[in-house]
Amino acid sequence: MTNVSKTRGQRLSVVYAILILVLILVVMQLWLLTATMNAFLGGNHTIVWPAAAASTICLGLNVGLLRFLNRLDR
């Protein structure tokens, strides 16, 4: 195996690491959405905006990881 293919192997490991982080964040967002919907339909509106902020932060982290991934391709 050459240096080129080793580099590619390392990049693949990085992609896997990023994918796992993104998946964890997406699962958290899914749980957050389900819990918020349940609370909202039950008349509890106090957690709605904090939950939206938390979900937006998760999205920001995901976008940051995606940008890092795109930089790897250059």
Partner: protein, 178 residues
Amino acid sequence: MDDDVQVTTFPDGRPERVQPKWRQDFPVDLEADEYGARRDFTKLMVITSLAFACGQLWIALLSTFRGRSPKEQRIAAIDEVQIGEAVRFHFPTERDPCLLIRQSEDEFLAYSSLCTHLMCPVRPDVEHGRLHCPCHEGYFDLGTGRPTAGPPRRPLPRIHLRIDRGVVYATDIEERAS
């Protein structure tokens, strides 16, 4: 292709020149293929993340605009509802069907008539002290609106009532958690 600059990795790990002819003609770079697939899946997950965040914001906006107290509304005169009977009405908007139930001479109850499972209209069964959702056999207690059987987990939203000079008014709606 020279081994030193070979980029393609074959499944058995051997160099290209010892691979069968069909594999030399149609080489598939497994690492590159895996890399592309995982990268694209990551992008798809980020789009999913965007959709979840939009859903959260949508709920937050709904909460902001629906949080206002509804306007008081006349439902019916006391004489129009017999004991053990129910009257349908809409509150706080025309899209929100509700039920007014007269349990005794001076006891009135009102609930949203949309089942908290999948929003089918519930039917009053005053004789047995329950509200029945025929779609998935859900039952609610008539006195409290809490689910007693079937798939619903949350109680029916309760309508607050005010009785003034023989007329029943709906004043507010109380959504309750399970």
